[in-house]
């Protein structure tokens, strides 16, 4: 028992150090976002604001596009995207994890191949726009690239294969349960940890994505999710700054903008919901991942 205590203590120390290493830069992020822009330019970034200011947040929340609508779109997108993604990925992964499936090898290869080769931006765009007409619709945020990921499918497949006991399922077959029922009633509940993990990753993917909105929503800017909105803001600032290195005509557009602190504030704004949703995450996802942890 004594040994276990040592492990616990060492474990907490190590994890604590890691946590601090991760959090320190994030505190700088938050501190800088609350610092006056000019002070930031003159004195550099710091954890504690040398001169407190909410200008950056004011700028973001007063900008022409509604940040709350974008939050809403992002949240809907994450929920819809994650649900659809799991509904597609789980059955596929389960199917290709079945031992002895005739087309197992080819199907795994079919999935794996998509990880390495893709048509590139322009052909993908042409396909989605000319064939499926998703430009300037919500589907444009949902469909391209993010819905399924070969690596996740293979991870789930591996999990079904290695961590869900085959005997249990065979027993159920003997009892006369249908194959789909076995998947629903036996395999899925046992796969909770991997489902929670993948759910987290897919949700993160949707939450972080700005590219789909940027590329596919050329006219419907009101459909921008939060990250697209923030990224466009950020790119504009960066573009203006680069142009302005030689002090040309973009100066007017820049002079009113808290350029430095605003970027920091944008990162915080992007992270905020995650912190707000923390209790939910802990309850449903983190718990799912660590279900049955604490070994030995």
């Amino acid at each position: 028992m004594n040994k276990d205590r040592t492990i616990q203590i060492i474990g907490h120390i190590v994890m604590f150090i890691i946590t601090v290493c991760i959090l320190l830069p994030l505190f700088i992020l938050i501190g800088s976002s609350l610092t006056d822009n000019l002070t930031l330019i003159q004195c550099g970034y710091n954890v504690f604001p040398r001169k407190f200011s909410l200008d950056a947040y004011e700028y973001i929340f007063n900008s022409k596009e509604s940040i709350f609508r974008s939050y809403g779109i992002s949240i809907v997108l994450v929920m819809v995207g994650t649900t659809v993604s799991l509904c597609l990925s789980l059955p596929l992964a389960y199917a290709i994890s079945r031992p002895g499936l005739t087309l197992k090898g080819p199907l795994i290869f079919y999935v794996f191949f998509t990880m390495l080769f893709n048509g590139g931006l322009v052909p993908t765009y042409v396909n989605y726009v000319n064939v499926f007409h998703i430009r300037d619709t919500f589907l444009a945020l949902l469909l391209p690239n993010l819905l399924m990921n070969a690596m996740y499918i293979l991870l789930i497949k591996n999990y079904f294969q290695n961590s869900v006991p085959e005997e249990l399922m065979e027993a159920a077959t003997v009892d006369g349960a249908g194959r789909f029922n076995i998947f629903l009633r036996i395999a899925l509940p046992l796969a909770k940890p991997i489902i929670a993990t993948i759910m987290l990753f897919v949700a993160t993917g949707y939450w972080n994505d700005w590219n789909n909105g940027y590329v596919y929503l050329s006219k419907r800017r009101d459909l921008y999710g939060i990250q697209t909105l923030l990224n466009v803001l950020n790119q504009n600032i960066q573009a203006l700054a680069q142009q302005d290195f030689d002090m040309n005509s973009s100066a007017e557009a820049l002079s009113e903008m808290p350029t430095v602190s605003v970027r920091m504030a944008m990162a915080v704004v992007g992270l905020l919901p995650i912190l707000v949703m923390y209790p939910f995450l802990q309850k449903n996802i983190v718990k799912g991942i660590t279900l049955g942890a604490v070994k030995g």
């Binding site: 000319n130 430009r135 050329s218 800017r221 030689d246 002090m247 005509s249 100066a251 557009a253 430095v260």
Partner: protein, 538 residues
Amino acid sequence: MKKRLLCVVLAMTMLVSLAGCGAKKEESTSTTESSVDSEETKVAEEGALSHAEAAIQARKESGEMPTISMAFFSFTGPTEGAERVNALMSAHLEETLGIKLEVMNYELGNYAQQIQLGFASEDAPDLMSTSLIGLSNCIGNGYFYDLEADGLLENYGAGIIETVGMDAIETCRVDGTLYAIPNMKEMANGLGGVFIRKERLDAIGYDYETAIKDSQKKAKAEGRFILDDTVFTDYEGMTEVLALFKAAYPDKGIISPSTAAEDHMVPVDLLGGDPFGILDYETGELKVENLFTNEKWLEYLRWVRQLNLDGYISADSLTNETAASTRIDAFEIVCGMSNSKPGQAASTGGGPSVLFQMEDYYSASDSINDMPWGISSKTEDPVAAMQVLNALFTDAELSRLLCWGEEGVEYNLTEDGRLELVDAPAYDMNVEWEMPNQMIAGVLSVQSANLWEQYEQMNEAAVKSAASGFLFDNSGVQNEYIALTNVWQEYKMQLMLGFVDPDEVTPELVKKLEKAGLDKYMEEKQRQLDEWAAANGK
């Protein structure tokens, strides 16, 4: 290219004659005479209407209004008032031409990509600005329509020819085909400028009024052109002024050096925007030279290097991504460098400034055709597209809407007819210089009423590149371009900000560039230049 484009701010008259274009011009107008749309010819004959009027009448009679889309970039994409102003423009065109207008405005970082995707997916604009993409690229990518097909320009773009002038238009002809129309803008820049805010000069007690007056007097005596609020100086004189600041603020970074020095600070012609092979204005010869061993270039770099060694340049400059004007506003640094044009000293660097200028005024080879407008190769109605383009060049009301917005909302007219912008206008593009003709859109109240005359004077006074109108197409040497760009980027910022000794680094840089294909690239430039010279009788 991006940086160049921003130097361009306002329009001007295109009266500067370009020798050698005349012969070609006659050819092009005569060949188009015979081929015109038969139906419209009939109408034209019956009512003695011009082709353009006939087309408008036919549209109005049929009751079908085509929609013409125009694409351009602005720094931050459409602003709040864009929808309203776009609707006004469309309504205006519906009335005058029987055509609906759709505006496709993308932000700076997205413009080239959206145009590319638009063309790939059959949703290309009908009219577009070549800014950020470049005329050569647009032609190479197959974006553009032949403007003289079926007498298009002649029959429906008479106003364009009159406004822009055939000489300027000819600079957009490549391999015999006319692809685009230059927009109305200035055709020269003052090089080697340092802008210092007047209040900062006041603070250290520098008498700039006298200095400006002396410079004006001297320039007048020499018959030299000079802009308002300008002091002519040289590296030494500049250092003296900066030294006053260094003495007053020993802990501050004093100056933010140019990061586009090859374009803004040194009198060389970049022949198409990249620094790999240049013309020296002074020699006046059509001989492509190596920028990196050019004595003027090295002299400039040595000056910056000395400034850095003496502590005038902040140590964080290399990684500083904050705009110079913002840093000047925050008083983190005192001043910055740029090229110049009329009216610029009034507002650059966040307030009224004095321009210390170390070089003369120069007009580069692509000063005319660096961001012309073209009609898309995918347009379904080239006639309507040309008529809209024509209106953009000639219709003052349309141009004013496009550049500045709605009267009474975005601006009010002053007594002398200038435009007084309201605070934080809802329609706020900041890209009037990109538009076909911002000259007819008026002058702002903060600008001097004779702004256009100043442009004209500067254009005339400027030293003109021997290759004026030449357009370099690098599609045959893109592999070299990529390699050269990567080598140059490795050294660029350190050299331009004075963190390395130019005399020490140059041999190494040149050796690497040569390995990356500098000679081949310059040869190609020379070859195209010779061809161009032969074709244009130079």
